[in-house]
Symmetry: C2
Subunit: 672 residues, 2 copies
């Protein structure tokens, strides 16, 4: 491609965009890995966006009212690193660029939100950024409705590639954004027609413009290398009154010999290719060299928002004390003052009234008292509102005509819901929670992993958490899903036994700053096992002695959730036979693992036989049964080792042998 | 709604459709759970399809050339059970209908493919049936190209609901089917505008017709209660030359007081409602009562295909012996005769040449010899062909102009790929395998679980299986994914250490009848650790002694995949210090768990200290370290307890302490 026309038509623009391209080429070459072509193709769009539209102040990258820039096509990470460096990020320095993809650098292979400010979300798994962005836009709309546009008034811009649009989660995101008419959401589709295997055409011939239009989006098609067209399209998109998709026809690896090829998608490291491309750009030949005037021009883009930021600071200062305090609190992610007392009052009440309810209902009871106090929550469900018990009386429905509503009908879109919740949590000011059946953890899984990796405190409300779901059968009965979430680093998996533990689990989940929580809740009714009120959050210890052995301690039963009451029943039978039996409730293995050795030893001392009870696979349990002073010859497990079946719940527990009798039998066999 | 017009316009059709409706009402009422509304809404479409179009013979439900009927909206299971019972299924009897959703019945809450013939796939998790159907249609097209339309010439019909279309996987399926112009695929969209939470409109306003059209589908919109319109639409769809979507405007729970409501989606159990609905239908009032003439009419539909089946039998008998034998073999899922010898020859060659290659490359080397022999394989990748090494020289690309091609460019659609592969396996005649990065197990997860539940031998080729992936960083580095697949019942997870083990793993995977396999393969090069050729498949034992201790056995190192060579290196260092060290390679924990106690004890005897080594989380390992005669005080693990990071692979193994030195250190500490 002859670049002369592009260079000469808009020389200043061109020089700025070329800086992105050359930094990308040099960083990828230095790392000898990475993706050169995408930043080279989208440099023009990004340059116009940052120069003319994006509201940001490089000196204040955490300004709450900044526009968000989301690189959904995360493999093109050098695009965002270049932009951050060029505009004057304190964190993404030239040294960082030179250390692209190296140990300890902030310039990881894919953008990681926790490594540098200005990276709004972690991307790389395709489609996630786009799906996050729906949450960002919802958060903005909600906060704007609640705090006024003096404080909240910004856009979310996304760059998505062909891969993002092929991933199914993109459809969930597109349809949800279209339904909610999220008019502050602008998506640039990097329409370069290239994927790793070849041209897009090999795997897809979808008319993407028609597809977005079918879900109610405003759409435009432009030349992604024409700065004026880009500028005009963004201007139109901002006024569209709907989410807006701008299809940008671009050339991947523009101006290099790998342009418009799959090779151009990957790492271009050939010295001659790089030299030739730089020459074609009219850029300096030196590695990482950006002409002073170009760097200065970029830095002035980086300070362009400073005045606006200062004016915003003044508006915040001028806001009523109540509003300002509340705004600052929710942005900081701090719980309201009354939060702990509210939880305790409910625990006390529950310990007294001892309701027999399903923990999904317990969860609703907790939310009924929390939501009015913690007004930054946004709840929702993937079309199982009545089953997940996620909606409380005060919330109102978030909708086009009610942005103050705090409950979202996500539709049958577990993945899109989870990713949108991550986006809200990343945006700040919102505490998102959302529900589905625990078995459909599977659908939400890619976003659940990212919540853990990104260190955001999203709360996943997973009800119908075992064969206790009953007649819907094995497609709807989780058996391996507790193990799946427990295997994931930085994830709290709570399986509360009753309303008291459920309240404690919610207290922990809603005060996390950097850890997502999975609440594993029953469909079936459970007795209250914590009949004695204690202000202390026992769930925070992960496991604790719920019922002590009478007489000599010969057995320890360790159980979670719905199986705690089975353990108590078994204990009664065993004690009746003179077998001293302790019951340990273990609502959160991860928190128990974090306790010191002395506490763990108090809860799980050596000597007694141990039986673990959980209506799920054993994986993850051996640490507590065979480890922690346990021994193979003195430990057993009552749970599932196959998929479930379709039948009434009580019958399933009988048939699969998850009963007090089975527990008693195992204890006796171990003691024999 | 006044049903008079419908009843009188087509009384015979009406009576047949009414039988579906009343059986549904009665079965759900008897079970006191289930979903009444969908079968009531789609009874007309199903009746016309079965009466006029579906090629099947109730007496021969496994006839390979039958049309496939897939109920993607699986909660409406009484639709398929009614159809099977009415048309004369030997398995779905009236007793089964009466035992809907009860323990041991074939009429589970959601249709389970392994419970009765005629249930082509397990559905319930929404969107899966639709995504499977793409695989069914691919299988048909492939087999038709290979065996001729005398033997293979059938359609795949799907009923999908609003939930199926909201799930992201539907987009992957729709786009893939559109791209491949799968003209034997007909999808009925049950356009009833109702989901569990309320009207579809609450969560979605997508123009579904425009959306399908955007991906190249033929589309029609009809009144789903008008038998003539249904018939004409199916006729047109079959001739469309593209996949065809028929939007059927229907009334959920037609003719009951719950019609067109969310209540109608669920279990209608009110006796008066049922009585009123039956009266409105003009159907008998008795429970499970179907008028004789109606049952007979349905049974004659069930025998409608008998002549065609007989003619097909004759054509098969008349085919050349070679063709017939091959057809019968692939339909039976049997491996070709030369298969085992081919694997052995490769193993011998590899044991001799001892290549140092990544196991993803080993996998390619295996496929290069298998694919020409086992011509029923269909390979593919989710746009990572060059990285997954799934394509071999002989395959050719499956495309609109080359249905004999055996390699599919699935696009960036891990979920759709996995579900399509399941569909091919369910169809029969095909052995599907497909690749992506192991981290993206997450995207494919819902379909991977279903492969296990459905008992189909799909092969998931998961490369880049640890931090050994390197610079792409933690979004692309699996740490919990081995645990995830191992936690799933009926799944073989193979993590081979070299080319020999990789060949053995493929041998096992491709001879399974009812178990899917996950192949966990490295990006990075590995030495051959099985330098001595043995014809026996050692991987089939799950674990085996790779290197025996010299002198007194003081330590056992247990490792998988890329960490086996680290174990061997550690052993060398330990032996040099006089510490007798055994190395156990454990390529498949599930198969090892299936071995008898005596064998397991031979491999893992008591006494020695044990260290497990795997670049992944420990979850799942304690059984082998602390159990199986192990002890907490004498066991340790070298692996990951966090997400990975972005850096060159060698550096990551150093930084995360997965090295021979670390192993040596742990062994010595345990022995001290």
């Amino acid at each position: 491609m002859d670049l002369t026309a592009l260079r000469t038509a808009n020389p200043e623009h061109w020089a700025k965009a070329a800086a992105i391209r050359t930094l990308t080429l040099d960083a990828v070459a230095a790392a000898n890995s990475g993706h050169s072509g995408m930043p080279m193709g989208m440099a023009d769009v990004a340059t116009v966006l940052f120069e003319k539209h994006l509201k940001f102040d490089a000196a204040n990258p955490e300004w709450p009212d900044r526009d968000r820039f989301i690189l959904s096509a995360g493999h093109g990470s050098m695009l965002i690193y270049s932009l951050l460096y060029l505009t004057g990020s304190e964190e993404i320095t030239l040294d960082q660029i030179k250390n692209f993809r190296q140990w300890g650098s902030k310039t990881a292979g894919h953008p990681e939100n926790f490594l540098a400010k200005g990276i709004e979300t972690t991307t790389g798994p395709l489609g996630q950024g786009l799906a996050n962005s729906v949450g960002f836009a919802i958060a903005e709309a909600s906060l704007r409705a609640n705090f006024g546009k003096q404080l909240v008034d910004h856009y979310t811009y996304v760059i998505a590639g062909d891969g993002c649009l092929m991933e199914g989660v993109s459809q969930e995101a597109i349809a949800l954004a279209g339904r909610q008419e999220l008019d502050r959401l602008v998506v640039f589709w990097d329409n370069n027609n290239i994927t790793i295997d070849g041209t897009v055409d090999m795997a897809d011939r979808t008319d993407q413009v028609a597809r977005f239009k079918a879900s109610g989006w405003h759409v435009q098609e432009i030349d992604g290398h024409d700065p004026q067209a880009i500028d005009e399209a963004i201007t139109a998109a901002k006024k569209a009154g709907k989410p807006s998709m701008i299809a940008c026809k671009t050339h991947i690896a523009l101006g290099s010999s790998a342009q418009d090829t799959s090779k151009g998608h990957g790492a271009l490291t050939d010295a001659q290719l790089i030299a030739d491309a730089k020459a074609a750009y009219g850029a300096p030949a030196g590695a990482f060299e950006v002409p002073d005037e170009v760097k200065k021009a970029w830095e002035s883009i980086g300070t362009r928002g400073a005045a606006e930021k200062a004016a915003w600071d003044e508006r915040l200062a001028a806001a009523s004390a109540g509003k300002r305090t509340r705004f600052e609190r929710v942005i900081a992610g701090e719980a309201p003052k009354r939060f702990v007392a509210t939880i305790r009052a409910l625990k006390k009440q529950m310990a007294e009234s001892q309701p027999k309810v399903a923990t999904r209902k317990s969860s609703e009871m907790v939310l009924e008292v929390i939501n009015p106090v913690m007004t930054e929550t946004i709840g929702g469900s993937a079309d199982l509102t009545g089953s997940n018990n996620t909606k409380t009386a005060d919330l109102g429905i978030f909708d086009t005509d009610n942005r103050k509503g705090r409950y979202i009908h996500y539709g049958i879109r577990e993945h899109g819901m989870a990713a949108a919740m991550n986006g809200m949590a990343l945006h700040g000011g919102i505490r998102p929670y959302g529900g589905t059946f625990m078995c459909f953890t599977d659908y939400a899984r890619p976003a659940m992993r990212l919540a853990a990796l990104m260190k955001v405190p999203t709360v996943f409300v997973m009800t119908h958490d075992s064969i206790g779901l009953g007649e819907d059968g094995p497609t709807h009965q989780p058996v391996e899903h507790l193990a799946i979430s427990r295997a994931t680093p930085n994830t709290f998996v709570f399986r509360p036994a009753d309303t008291v533990e459920t309240a404690e689990a919610w207290e922990i989940a809603l005060t996390q700053e950097a850890t997502p929580s999975v609440l594993s809740l029953t469909r079936q009714g459970l007795p209250t096992v914590r009949g004695e009120y204690k202000p202390k959050n026992l769930t925070a210890q992960g496991a604790y002695v719920l019922a002590e052995a009478e007489g000599k301690r010969q057995a320890i039963l360790i159980a979670t959730g719905s199986e705690v009451s089975i353990a108590l029943e078994a204990r009664e039978a065993l004690q009746a036979e003179g077998i001293g039996t302790r019951v340990v409730s273990m609502p959160c293995m991860e928190l128990f693992a974090q306790q010191d050795e002395a506490y763990r030893k108090r809860v799980l001392p050596a000597g007694a036989v141990r039986v673990g009870i959980e209506a799920a696979v054993r994986q993850g349990w051996d640490r507590w049964l065979l480890g922690e002073r346990g021994r193979e010859a003195k430990a057993d497990f009552v749970g599932m080792d196959s998929f479930g079946s379709s039948a009434p719940a009580e019958e399933l527990f009988e048939k699969f042998g998850i009963t007090a009798e089975a527990v008693v039998g195992k204890v006796k066999a171990l003691l024999a």
